[in-house]
Amino acid sequence: MNVPVALASGQPAQFRDTRFTVPSIRCAGCIAKIERELPKLDGVEHARVNFSAKRVAIHHSTSLDDVDLTKALREIGFEAQPVSENPLARDDADTRMILRAVAVAGFGMMNIMLLSISVWSGANGATRDLFHWLSAIIAIPVIAYAGRPFFASALMALRYGRTNMDVPISIGVLLATALSLYETATSGAHAYFESAVMLLFFLLCGRALDATMRTRTRAGIGALLGRMGKSASVFQPDGSCQRVSAEELQPGMLVLVAAGEALAADGVVEHGEGAVDNAMLTGETTPQTVGSGSEVHAGAINLLGPLHVRLTAVGGDTALAEIARLMDEAGQSRSLYVRIADRASRLYAPVVHSLAALAFIGWMLAGAGWHQSLVIAIAVLIITCPCAMGLAVPAAQVVASGALIKRGLLVKDGSALERLAEVDVALFDKTGTLTLGAPRPDISTLDDTTRSVALGLAQASRHPLSQGLADALIEEGVKAAIVDEIEEQSGQGLTGQWEGAAVSIGQPQTAQDGMASELTVGDRHWTLRFKDPVRGDARQTINRLESLGIASRILSGDVSQSVERVASDLGVPAQAGATPHEKLALLEGLKADGHKPLMVGDGINDGPALAAAHASIAPSTASDASQQAADAVFIGEKLAPVAFAVTIARQTMRIVRQNFTFAIGYNILAIPLALFGMVTPLIAAIAMSVSSLVVVGNSLRLARSGKDET
């Protein structure tokens, strides 16, 4: 698979690895294409695709930089962004740590159980002592290793004077181990090593499920300011141009923005005419025409000829940075949300601890002696510290997120599912959310040959209109014709040769309303009109949300005319021309009224609103920042996953509550046994396994109900 590459000269080759996130890897063909084509480039040693993470790791010589590699990837048809030194690495390491702990705990549990069953079936005397000692030798290192996540978190909580689920778990496990050691040393009849290790194993399974869910859906989420230009060409007093990095730009500088370049700061156009793509900032797909005196913002991409821009705001003062700051602040309210498992444990932990303490005091008063009182108190702790509680939430949420992924919705974590279940009002952005956000042409006038020529030509370009045309043609099942000598002039269009005839796609010769382009094959011309269509099932989705008791409305930054049209089509109220501040203010208002708003949006201008909403969903075409701010991302052209997400989230919470009721109910039955000193290690082991199995089984029902829904 790796083609050896001869380097251009005999210099010692210096290699390094660069990672790129490539969201558009979808099939085996993409893997093969990247891994075969990239090494053909001089200086690339090999490329390895990670399909799950949508990443490509490229081993290349230091003579190539990120820009060259991004360009090479684009040439073979993949949009890519370099990943800065893996921000998810810590998360990854945590997941691995937990998986290792699960393996160790599983190993310990099986071997100790083997020995315990012999003891339960009647081994006594020297054999029982031997088996207890063997169990101790296995259990102590296993508990020390596998228990670390719980001990660390419990210590942390205690240090800040709080308590969480890990505190009773750690106390239970440590006391059970200490007591068992004492029993073993004094040739006692019962040792609880298997209960302690089994408890850790089941709880770690719950943690591992939770961690898997988080990492699975985080693929392809990049950083915010990556799109903002990193440097600019600044005019020097002598008239020459010099590259200056974004941090060193000053207001008042005059910069030259070439076609295709992203602006690094806000400014006013002084010279030149053209169009900029503001999709990043406003979510608006139609390019904005600019001329002398027009304001342009950082993050906008210059589509046509060069522009001379006088800078007015740089760095942290740009509109883009302002939005990033708003998002940051808005997102903080969400970190205050307390997850259901923590809410349950806040109630549960004090009860368990007081019960154990009461059992100890009660038996001491009854004159049972400190040894027997302690044994009973620890039995209460073990039996009330159910692994079922640790599994109740993650088991249900993992099954639900699996069902949602099959339906095209990636939920980022469990807390997102919990918040999605609570929403009672939905706000939709228009462009890119209710509509596709990508221009689609009317291709009904084209015949079959023209269609295949058009596809052959259009798929060579990354221009939004060409892509829209190519997507529409591919959807119709058109096969591309082979077009040679394709050339693209920025702002002019594409030209090429097909079977000896000149073919082109470009700007229409006569002025058109809205977006249009002209297709020429030989001496025949067609005008293609583009518009941004409303997603096919937008209406059903809004109806479906209404049947769930969620009222929808449109909140858009677009001009009122086009918003009104969509709003009246869908029969929902709308607010147009909203700035990011106004969107945020509206959401804060709704929250102050006691509502729990769901925000669905895609543009960076929706970012603060997405971060502030009780729950939020973004389409996968959304800007990186919005995907990062949202709780969930839906894939594809259908809006249905939005309504489906709420349905499944509510079902999940119902199952979670059932699981809790069951786990706690089970313990209430077992507590009297423990209080009266009748819980043997055998009973504790059976209670734990059965309750865990029931909870997992109950959660698996979600996978089936997800299928029945539609």
Partner: protein
């Protein structure tokens, strides 16, 4: 009872072997790209 002297070390040894195999698999990246492995089998190896 002498059977135990063989059987218990064997049981533990097999368990440890499984554990070591799992650790090795994690370290060598066998679980890094589960979906990719499913897709890679579909790639035709071309002669180059």
């Amino acid at each position: 009872m002498t059977g135990l002297a063989f059987l218990i070390p064997i049981a533990l040894g097999m368990g440890l072997f499984g554990l070591a195999a799992f650790f090795w698999a994690m370290r060598s990246g066998q679980f890094d790209d589960m979906d990719g492995a499913a897709h890679r089998i579909l790639i035709d190896e071309e002669d180059e």
